[in-house]
C-alpha cells in the first residue's frame, strides 16, 4: 500500500512536471562565415542541422527550444568580413557564431569579442574527444580552448604531369616525386632546374615554370620554413625572424625571376586567370591549397585531376630547411552575448556540427580535409580519393601559423619584403634589413632575431 502511494505520488509528480507549461525559448542564432563560397555552404547548413538535433534533445529533457539559424556568407572579402564582425561586436550586435581564420582568436579573445568554448563544452565527450589534437591546439590560445576547428586543409606543391614527362620524367619518376620531396631529396634547387628546363624547351611559356599564388597568404610562410625559418619559438612563444632563412627565401624568388621561370610582375595576377591557367597545364609547377581540387575539377573543367597533376609537400629549400605545408583551419567561434544561455546554445550547436557525419558533408563538398579521426569510418569521406590521399600525404606534416597578437604585423612585413625583392625594388639583403628594423620596432620584446 505504501509502495503504491509512493508510486502514485511519483507518477503524479512526473505527470504534473510534463503537464506544467514547459520552459520555452525562441532563439535566432546568426552565423557569419568568412571566405566562404557556394561550396562552403555547409559551414552554415551544418549549424542548421545541429539546431534540429539540439531542439530534439531539449524537447526530450522537457524544454522547448526553437532555434532559427540565419546564415550570412556574402562578404566582399576577408577584410569586409573581419571589419564587419569587429564593428558588430563593438556595437553589441555580433553574430552568435563566426567561422573565421584561427589567427583571429588572439586579437578577438583579447578584445573580449569571443568567449571560450571550453566554458560551455565538455571537451572529453564525443565528438570533441575525437578531433585531431593538433587541430584543436590551433583553435586554442593561451592554453584556453577558444574555438573548434571547422575544417582542415593544407597547401601542397603541384606538378603538371605532361610537362614533367616532356622534360624527361618517366611515370614512375613522377609517382616518386612526393616521396622524394618528403624526404628532402627533391628541393627548390630541383624545382628551379626542372622549371627552367620546361621553359627552355618551350613546353611552357616564359614565367610559367613556377607559378606561385598571386597574392599574400599563409602560403608564403611555407617558403620561409622551407629555407629553415621558424615562425614561433616553442619555449617562449615569441615570434622568430631568422635572417638567413628569410634572405634565402627572398633570394629564391629573385633567382626564379632571373631564370625566367616566374614573372617579375606575377603578384597581382587575376585569381580567375590564375586558376584557369594552372588547372589546364599552362604552368609546370605551382603551389595552392587542398581546396583547389574543387575548383580545378569543377569550374575550371579539369576532368582528370589525378591523371594530370601530381602533388606533394612544399619542398625544402636546401639542406637547412624542411619540406612542409601549412594548414590554416577555419574555426567556429562563439561571440560574447548579453545572455549567457545564448552562448551556451551556440557552443552546443558547434559541437554537434563538428561530428564526423556533418563535417564530412562539408569536407567532401568543399574539398577540405576532415577534423576528426572517426571521419575515416564515414564512407563518404573514406571513399573519396582526394580527401584520403591528401590527408595521408599532407596533414600529418602540417603545421599552422602561430596564434599571436603580433603575427599579423609579422606576416604583412614579411610579404612586403618578398614583394620588394621579387619585383626588384630592393635586394633581398636590403629587404631583410628593413624587415628586421620594422619588426624590431613593431614587436619589441615579442620578437627573437637569429
Amino acid at each position: 500500500m505504501k509502495h503504491f502511494t509512493l508510486g502514485t505520488t511519483a507518477l503524479v509528480a512526473a505527470l504534473s512536471a510534463f503537464a506544467l507549461p514547459a520552459a520555452s525559448k525562441d532563439l535566432t542564432v546568426t552565423v557569419w562565415a568568412g571566405g566562404s563560397n557556394d561550396a562552403d555552404a555547409y559551414r552554415i547548413d551544418n549549424i542548421k542541422a545541429a539546431a534540429e538535433i539540439l531542439s530534439r534533445e531539449y524537447a526530450i529533457m522537457g524544454e522547448e527550444l526553437n532555434i532559427t539559424v540565419e546564415g550570412r556568407r556574402d562578404f566582399g572579402g576577408w577584410e569586409e568580413f573581419k571589419q564587419g564582425v569587429t564593428l558588430a561586436a563593438e556595437a553589441g550586435t555580433a553574430p552568435n557564431i563566426v567561422v573565421t581564420s584561427h589567427m583571429d582568436i588572439a586579437p578577438w579573445s583579447q578584445a573580449g569579442y569571443i568567449v571560450p568554448v571550453e566554458d560551455y563544452l565538455d571537451l572529453d565527450t564525443f565528438p570533441l574527444n575525437d578531433l585531431y589534437p593538433n587541430l584543436l591546439e590551433i583553435a586554442a590560445y593561451n592554453d584556453i580552448q577558444w574555438g573548434i576547428p571547422q575544417d582542415a586543409e593544407s597547401r601542397p606543391f603541384f606538378f603538371w604531369k605532361d610537362t614533367m614527362r616532356g622534360i624527361g620524367y618517366s611515370d614512375a619518376d613522377i609517382a616518386a616525386l612526393p616521396g622524394r620531396v618528403a624526404s628532402g631529396e627533391y628541393t627548390f634547387e630541383n624545382v628551379l632546374q626542372d622549371a627552367k628546363k620546361a621553359v627552355d624547351m618551350g613546353i611552357v611559356e616564359e614565367g610559367y615554370g613556377f607559378y606561385p599564388r598571386p597574392s599574400n597568404g599563409p602560403d608564403y610562410a611555407q617558403f620561409y620554413q622551407s629555407f629553415g625559418g621558424v615562425l614561433q619559438d616553442p619555449e617562449t612563444g615569441k615570434l622568430v625572424l631568422d635572417r638567413e632563412s628569410m634572405q634565402e627565401f627572398y633570394q629564391f624568388f629573385v633567382d626564379a625571376v632571373e631564370a625566367k621561370i616566374t614573372r617579375k610582375n606575377h603578384l597581382g595576377t587575376d585569381w580567375g586567370q590564375w586558376y584557369t591557367e594552372v588547372a589546364n597545364g599552362k604552368a609546370a609547377t605551382w603551389h595552392g591549397g587542398t581546396w583547389h581540387y574543387a575548383r580545378y575539377t569543377g569550374k575550371e573543367g579539369n576532368e582528370d585531376f589525378f591523371g594530370t597533376i601530381e602533388f606533394s609537400l612544399i619542398p625544402s629549400g636546401d639542406g637547412n630547411g624542411r619540406p612542409n605545408t601549412i594548414t590554416h583551419p577555419l574555426v567556429y567561434l562563439v561571440t560574447d552575448q548579453s545572455d549567457d544561455q545564448d552562448e551556451e546554445i551556440a557552443a552546443q550547436l558547434i559541437k554537434i556540427a563538428s561530428g564526423p557525419r556533418l563535417n564530412s558533408l562539408h569536407a567532401i563538398k568543399s574539398a577540405h580535409l576532415g577534423i576528426g579521426q572517426q571521419q575515416s569510418n564515414i564512407e563518404l569521406y573514406a571513399n573519396n580519393q582526394w580527401a584520403a590521399e591528401a590527408t595521408e600525404r599532407l596533414l600529418s606534416a602540417a603545421n599552422a601559423q602561430p596564434n599571436h597578437l603580433g603575427y599579423g604585423a609579422f606576416s604583412e612585413a614579411m610579404f612586403k619584403g618578398l614583394e620588394a625583392s621579387w619585383t626588384g625594388a630592393q635586394s633581398p639583403a636590403d629587404a631583410v634589413a628593413e624587415l628586421e628594423t620594422e619588426l624590431r620596432a613593431k614587436l619589441g620584446d615579442d620578437l627573437i632575431v637569429r
Partner: protein, 438 residues
C-alpha cells in the same frame, strides 16, 4: 513690438546655417578630431575601441618577465593551479550541498590540478552526488581556483580584490593591473615608430612624386583641353568635353577595370604590340616606372576633366570684345592664350591646384584598385599605407592607432599646405571687392 525683430532674424540665420554646420561637424571636423585622438593611442583589434577589461593570460606573463615584479608573484602566476582545499570545499558546499562537498573531500582532498579540465574530470568521479550538467560541473570546478589567471574582470576594483584574495604581494598590484588591462592606452609610440621606419620616408617620397606629377598633368591637360575646345565650334567642343568627362562619371571600379584590359599582358596594348614584335608584358606592373605612369594617367584623366570644365567656363567669361580687339591688333592664337586667356585664368588655376593637391594627398582609391601599391611598394603612397595599416591585415590584428598616426600626418600637411597656398596666391586680394566699389 519694435526691438524684437533682431533676435528673431539671428535665429533664422542660425537655422539656415545649422544643417551646414552639422555636416561640417560630422563629416569634416569629427573625423579630424578622431584621427588626432586615435593617433595617440595603441588602439588595435585586440584592444577594442570602447575600453577594456582586466585579464591576466599566459602571454601577459611573458611581458611581465621584463617588468619590475617580485619573483614570488611571477612564480605564483606561472604555477596557477586548482586545489581541493577546505576553502574550496566550503564554497562547493555552499554552491551545491554538503553531501557533494563531503564526497569530493573523501575522493580528492588536498589534490592539486593544473587545469580546470582536470578538476572537471575529478568531479566526474562523484558517484552518489553526481553533477549531471556540464555547466554545473564547470561552475563547481571553478570554485577550486587559487589564482586570478585567465579570469576576466570588468572593473579594476574587482581585479584588485581578486589579486588580494589570491595572496599576491600588494607591491605588485599596480604593475599587474597595468599589464592586465586589455583596452587601449595613450601613447606617443606611433609617432616615434613612424619617424624611425625607413619605409615612412619612402611613402613620403612616393606621395610627393604622385601629387606633383598628377597635379601637373591635371592642370596642364585640363588647360589644354579647355583652350583647344574653346577654339572649336560649340557642337564639336561639347562632344569632346563630354568624352573627356567620362573618366570622372564612371564608377572607379569599372574605370580601373578598363585600364586592366588596356595594360595587362593579355590586354589591348600587349595584343597590339605583338604585331610589332614586342613581347607581351604587363604594362601596369612590369616596372616601377610603368606603374607610376599608369597611376598618374588614371588619376590625371579623372582630375583633368574637372579642370577642363572650370577652365572652359572661365574662358567663356572673358569678354569676347577683348579677343576681337586683340585680333584687330594682329595677335595670333598663341599670343591670345599667353596674354589674354591665361592671366584671366589665375583664380581657377589657383583653385584647381589647391583643391587637387589636397584631394590627391589623401586619395588612394584608384591606386588601391589598380596597383595596390605595387610593384614591390613602388606606388605605395602615404594614404594607402594608412589604409593598409589600419584596415587591411591578413593576420587579423588591425593597427587602428598606427594607421591614424599616418592619417594625422596627412591632416597636418593638408592644413599647412592650404595656409601656404592662401599666402602664396594672395587669396585676400583675389576675393577682395573690385576697387571700383570701394
Amino acid at each position: 513690438m519694435p526691438r524684437t525683430s533682431k533676435p528673431r532674424f539671428n535665429w533664422l540665420g542660425f537655422g539656415f546655417l545649422a544643417p551646414a554646420m552639422a555636416v561640417v561637424m560630422l563629416f569634416f571636423l569629427a573625423p579630424v578630431i578622431m584621427t588626432a585622438f586615435f593617433a595617440f593611442t595603441n588602439m588595435s583589434t585586440s584592444t577594442g575601441i570602447t575600453g577594456g577589461d582586466y585579464l591576466l593570460s599566459q602571454s601577459d606573463l611573458l611581458g611581465l618577465e621584463n617588468k619590475d615584479i617580485s619573483p614570488e608573484t611571477l612564480d605564483a602566476l606561472n604555477n596557477a593551479e586548482y586545489r581541493v582545499d577546505d576553502a574550496g570545499l566550503a564554497r562547493l558546499a555552499a554552491a551545491r550541498d554538503q553531501a557533494t562537498a563531503d564526497e569530493f573531500r573523501t575522493l580528492h582532498y588536498d589534490a592539486t590540478f593544473a587545469s580546470r579540465r582536470d578538476v572537471e574530470r575529478a568531479l566526474k568521479d562523484l558517484r552518489t552526488n553526481r553533477i549531471r550538467k556540464t555547466r554545473d560541473r564547470k561552475d563547481a570546478a571553478e570554485l577550486f581556483t587559487t589564482s586570478v589567471m585567465d579570469e576576466r574582470f570588468d572593473e579594476e576594483s574587482d581585479f584588485r580584490s581578486a589579486l588580494a584574495a589570491s595572496g599576491i604581494n600588494q607591491a605588485d598590484h599596480d604593475t599587474l593591473v597595468q599589464e592586465a588591462y586589455t583596452g587601449w592606452i595613450w601613447t606617443t609610440e606611433n609617432i616615434e615608430l613612424l619617424t624611425s621606419l625607413s619605409s615612412s620616408w619612402r611613402y613620403a617620397m612616393n606621395t610627393a612624386i604622385y601629387v606633383a606629377f598628377t597635379l601637373a598633368f591635371n592642370v596642364g591637360f585640363g588647360l589644354f583641353l579647355a583652350i583647344s575646345t574653346f577654339y572649336l565650334s560649340p557642337g564639336v567642343a561639347a562632344t569632346f568635353r563630354t568624352i573627356w568627362f567620362l573618366p570622372r562619371v564612371l564608377p572607379p571600379v569599372l574605370y580601373v577595370l578598363m585600364w586592366y584590359w588596356l595594360t595587362w599582358d593579355t590586354g589591348i596594348i600587349s595584343t597590339l604590340a605583338r604585331y610589332f614584335g614586342i613581347a607581351p608584358r604587363n604594362w601596369m606592373l612590369d616596372t616601377g616606372t610603368n606603374a607610376w605612369i599608369v597611376v598618374i594617367l588614371i588619376n590625371g584623366f579623372v582630375g583633368a576633366s574637372l579642370g577642363m570644365i572650370l577652365f572652359s567656363s572661365a574662358i567663356k567669361a572673358i569678354p569676347a570684345s577683348m579677343l576681337y580687339a586683340s585680333e584687330v591688333d594682329g595677335a595670333n592664337r598663341w599670343q591670345q592664350v599667353r596674354y589674354i586667356i591665361l592671366p584671366q585664368l589665375r583664380w581657377p588655376i589657383l583653385f584647381t591646384s589647391s583643391y587637387q593637391t589636397l584631394s590627391l594627398l589623401t586619395s588612394f582609391e584608384y591606386i588601391l584598385l589598380a596597383t595596390d601599391g605595387g610593384p614591390g611598394g613602388t606606388t605605395e603612397v602615404w594614404a594607402l599605407a594608412a589604409y593598409h595599416t589600419a584596415l587591411n591585415n591578413y593576420g587579423g590584428n588591425l593597427q587602428y592607432g598606427l594607421g591614424a598616426a599616418y592619417a594625422l600626418v596627412l591632416v597636418v600637411i593638408g592644413i599647412i599646405t592650404s595656409l601656404l597656398y592662401l599666402r602664396f596666391f594672395n587669396f585676400k586680394e583675389l576675393v577682395s571687392k573690385p576697387r571700383i566699389e570701394q
